[in-house]
């Protein structure tokens, strides 16, 4: 297989605080292939955003202890100088955020902000850059892009702002787009429009997409592969169908069972007991063990490694594969 686009190896991001060390990301390894869509699911505090903010170089190195390697097209982003990193960020890797109103500058016109991003990376005149900006606004489905480019962010609706962000992110034709909860702040009908737009543009621009979300429904419809994260670690990774029809980690089972589903008549939800752990006092052994209904003695002391028991589907759990398959089948049969 060709070299992966992004190869993250044993990444840790720890923040020293007065209360103790916050282990936001704790030994995470994964790869992203060109043009694929990776879904990253997890609850708040699972480390899903922090790991990709680190990829973007947006975590202040003075405030965090970062170790590991982040190889993007073969080059380690963590050892690069700020100048080198700046050439990649925005140009090769772009990111869009949950709240487009805070991500856009309120005192500059939308078109001018896109022009600024283009000119930071390309030696072209303002007029040429503006032509690209207007064309991008058109491609993301903003009507009257000429006029819209001259407006300010507050004149845009929530969905339109997120479209403008996507236009800016894709204006330099990046190889990878990181979307951090891109639709969480939007209504469902607008969410559907934006997710469809990302799907379409991904094809047009040949971009790999990372979709960070807490919504298992979004992942089911818009990704190829999924990483499930819990307490700073990837606990399961596999193809989309692996995760939905062959899940191998108790946390994934818990998530799948606890959500209210439109497509099923559920008498009662089956929640995961307890709440996500503090990242300062992460439970010893498997960090999910205090909440796991299948906990064994070994889980309390030994950290399970992420092992590909049926490659490339991998999970970090001490239960034997056969037992896990048996449990999952009974969960599926019950539904």
């Amino acid at each position: 297989m060709a070299e992966p686009l992004l190869d993250v190896r044993n990444l840790t991001v720890h923040f020293p605080t007065d209360d103790g060390l916050v282990k936001a990301v704790d030994g995470v390894s994964f790869t992203i292939e060109p043009r694929e869509t990776l879904g990253v699911v997890g609850e708040s505090g699972s480390g899903k955003s922090v790991s990709f903010l680190t990829v973007m170089g947006l975590i202040n190195k003075k405030q965090a202890r970062i170790t590991g390697e982040i190889l993007f097209q073969g080059r380690d982003l963590l050892t690069m100088s700020d100048d080198e990193l700046r050439k990649i960020r925005g140009d090769k890797i772009a990111m869009i955020f949950q709240d487009p109103l805070t991500a856009l500058n309120p005192v500059h016109r939308v078109g001018a902000q896109i022009v600024e991003a283009i000119q930071a990376h390309r030696e072209i005149t303002e007029d040429e850059a503006m032509k690209i900006a207007v064309e991008m606004l058109r491609r993301v489905g903003i009507p009257q892009p000429d006029e819209r480019a001259r407006q300010y962010p507050h004149e845009f609706s929530g969905g339109m702002r997120q479209r403008a962000m996507i236009a800016m992110a894709l204006s330099l034709d990046p190889d990878m787009l990181i979307a951090d909860e891109p639709t969480t702040a939007l209504d469902v009908t607008v969410q559907a429009q934006i997710l469809d737009l990302i799907d379409r543009l991904k094809e047009e621009f040949n971009t790999a997409v990372v979709m960070i979300t807490h919504d298992l429904g979004v992942v089911a419809e818009h990704t190829d592969r999924v990483n499930v994260m819990y307490a700073g670690k990837v606990v399961e990774t596999g193809s989309r169908d692996d995760i939905y029809y062959n899940a191998e980690h108790p946390y994934t089972w818990g998530l799948l069972q606890s959500i209210s589903r439109l497509d099923e008549k559920q008498d009662r939800l089956r929640p995961i007991k307890g709440s996500p752990p503090s990242l300062i006092h992460v439970p010893p052994g498997c960090s999910f063990h205090p909440r796991c209904p299948y906990v064994m003695d070994i889980c309390r002391t030994q950290v399970p490694e992420l092992v590909a028991e049926d490659y490339p589907h991998a999970n970090a759990c001490h239960i034997s594969l056969e037992e896990k398959q048996r449990i999952f089948a009974s969960i599926m049969a019950r539904q």
């Binding site: 190869d7 994964f30 559907a192 429904g217 959500i259 929640p271 490694e305």
Partner: protein, 385 residues
């Protein structure tokens, strides 16, 4: 408006009187200009003609997107706001024009649970005091018995009664929401209006709070009005679901009926936009894609408010005639001139397909997944550098 909305679901006996009855309820917020002489230059039609009946013991869900008026409706029911037009009845009494003093005994019977458990609890008071406050205000429980009563409530909502003296910041989001629920229960109300009670919580914690609300409904014989933007959650919780769009109720039906046979194209669009955590079903459902955003409630569109975004709109009828809620199935009403056919979004084929996939998984795993004696794990790291 004279139509009555909300034939109760078949399992709710129609003979009973509704606990809550809204008739032609409107709430308009003025838009003013100027500081001293505030000139009225327009109004936001936040709620614009809602009729709704809620029967004792049932859960009615209100669902809709931002700005559809669902939260305003909640505040009108509990009289945290006064209606502009129409009447609100509680247990057969018209509370629309009641004074604060007259309202106080009524308020004992209706309580609210709010969305943000961080903002709705006073950070300077221990949770015990927060939960006891309604008892103090209404004088329902004498002072010396309050502590016991509060601890009993804390136990019932799944909090440790020993944490009586702790402050809200010492609790997690889910626990705080339990405090909010305990406070709402303190007066033993008959109606609880829950406005987005789980949308600020993590997925794994949401289910805990939803289950708690269901248990308490049985235990305390509660009637719920459950408001959320998440159609899956609303459907799970409610006997009947009312879908709101731009200040109006456009469709009411039992959750299952709504899911299978939504009649209003807006409901259909919601159904086809809600992410379904089942890849096969999600791919095979029909899509009703809406163009554009919700129009401004300052100048709502003429005729059917949904017509500018509606894929089925037929002009000029839809832009001139305001459709009324008309019955379709038992318990189902929809306000549309050209309703959707049955099974417009989730087709039977899609359901069968999804079910088949699930059965296959179970069969496949059952046939291969028998534990083999001495089976060991293969230790292979996913992608060795």
């Amino acid at each position: 408006m004279t139509m009555t909305m909300g034939q109760p679901a078949p399992d709710v006996t129609a003979s009973r009187t509704p606990l809550v009855k809204l008739t032609g309820v409107k709430k308009h917020f003025p838009i003013t200009r100027g500081i001293i002489f505030q000139k009225r230059i327009g109004q936001v039609h936040a709620v614009d003609g809602v009729d709704l009946e809620v029967y004792p013991g049932e859960t009615v869900g209100l669902v809709g997107e931002t700005g559809c008026g669902k939260s305003t409706t909640a505040r009108l029911i509990t009289k945290l706001m006064d209606v502009t037009e129409g009447t609100v009845e509680f247990d057969g009494h018209d509370i629309t024009r009641m004074s604060r003093k007259e309202m106080q005994p009524v308020r004992r019977d209706m309580q609210m649970v709010f969305q943000d458990p961080y903002a709705s609890l006073n950070p300077r008071k221990p949770v015990g005091t927060i939960i006891a406050e309604p008892m103090a205000i209404h004088g329902t429980v004498p002072k010396e018995k309050r502590r016991r009563e509060v601890q009993d409530l804390m136990q019932r909502v799944g909090l440790n009664p020993e944490h009586y003296n702790r402050y809200p910041h010492e609790f997690s989001g889910g626990q705080r929401q339990r405090v909010g629920v305990a406070r709402a229960l303190a007066l033993r109300p008959r109606l609880i209006v829950a406005d987005e009670p789980v949308s600020a919580l993590d997925v794994s914690v949401q289910a805990q709070v939803l289950n708690l609300l269901e248990d308490l409904q049985d235990e305390f014989n509660l009637t719920y009005i459950f408001i959320a933007h998440d159609l899956s959650v609303v459907k799970h919780m409610s006997d009947r679901v009312a879908v709101m769009y731009l200040g109006r109720v456009v469709e009411v039906a039992p959750g299952e009926v709504l899911y299978k046979n939504a009649k209003h194209p807006y409901t259909g669009a919601l159904l086809s936009a809600v992410p379904i955590p089942d890849p096969k079903l999600a791919q095979s459902r029909k899509r009703i894609v809406l163009e554009g955003d919700v129009p401004s409630p300052i100048n709502p569109p003429s005729g059917c408010r949904f017509h500018p975004r509606c894929p089925n709109a037929q002009l000029p009828k839809c832009s001139t005639d305001d459709p009324e809620l008309t019955p379709h199935r038992p318990g189902q009403l929809a306000a549309c001139h050209f309703p959707l056919p049955d099974r417009a979004v989730i087709t039977e084929e899609a359901e069968v397909k999804a079910e088949e996939t699930r059965k296959q998984v179970v069969r496949r795993v059952r046939s291969t997944g028998e534990p083999k004696p001495g089976a060991t794990r293969t230790r292979r790291t996913p992608r060795k550098p």
